[in-house]
């Protein structure tokens, strides 16, 4: 299949276990963050977002944690399933431009049966 990144860091997780994917963002003035999932050959799909006035936000099986002190974002996936296998990347809004975002290069999640 197609690959969005040939040398991405890879996280291998046993099916049913929890996954934690990390992202360091660059700008302390960024105030909006998004996690995307990208399956092979497809466009990125929105998973969850968080604004800087929050530390944690939960969705269905996913939780995003924001640590502004160290400019760190994490995505936790509970009870990881084979369908979760994909590349995950974070995005932060670029404070210098209203419509612009800075995207991370991503982490490949492999779910082992």
């Amino acid at each position: 299949g197609e690959s969005v990144g040939l040398h991405l860091p890879t996280l291998s997780v046993q099916e049913g276990d929890n996954s934690i994917i990390n992202c360091a963002y660059s700008n302390s003035a960024s105030d909006y963050f998004i996690w995307y999932k990208q399956e092979s050959g497809k466009g990125p799909q929105f998973i969850i977002d968080i604004r800087s006035n929050m530390d944690k936000r939960q969705g269905q099986r996913v939780t995003v944690l924001l640590n502004k002190t160290v400019k760190h974002l994490s995505l936790q996936i509970a009870a990881t399933q084979p369908g979760d296998s994909a590349v995950y990347f974070c995005a932060e809004n670029d404070p210098s431009g209203t419509y612009k975002y800075i995207f991370g290069t991503g982490t490949r999640l492999k779910v082992l049966a």
Binding site: E2, S3, V4, G5, L6, H7, L8, D31, Y32, I34, Y36, G41, K42, G43, P44, Q45, F46, D49, R51, F89, A91, N93, T98, Y99, K100, Y101, I102, F103, G104, T105, G106
Partner: protein, 113 residues
């Protein structure tokens, strides 16, 4: 659900050809974006548009132009394709004037020979 569609999933063109990539969104979004995605790099913004007939350069506009004649449609044009424009091209749209979720199309994988 938001739907962003792109005219082609795969394209093969020759150096020097003019290439049109079209994107259509059905959610009445004001903002539309064109990115390219290359292995080992995050998404890079080529151009964006915040209204009909309005456009602004992104981070890597050289060799590209865009057209937005209708709100739902945003076209990316490669006036004279070159081999270094071989890439995955992703279109996105968003509603919010400020930071807001971007919804992506499935991507067009362009190969320039």
């Amino acid at each position: 659900d938001v739907k962003v569609t792109q005219s082609s999933r795969y394209l093969v063109k020759r150096t020097g050809e003019k290439v049109f990539l079209e994107c259509v969104q059905d959610m009445d979004h004001e903002n539309m974006f064109w990115y390219r995605q290359d292995p080992g790099l995050g998404l890079r913004l080529i151009y964006f548009s915040y209204d009909v007939k309005m456009k602004e350069k992104g981070d890597i506009p050289e060799g590209y132009s865009v057209s937005r004649e209708k709100k739902e449609r945003f076209s990316l044009i490669l006036e004279s394709a070159s081999t270094n424009q071989t890439s995955m091209y992703l279109c996105a749209s968003s509603f919010s004037a400020g930071p807001g979720t971007q919804y992506f199309g499935p991507g067009t994988r362009l190969l320039v020979l």
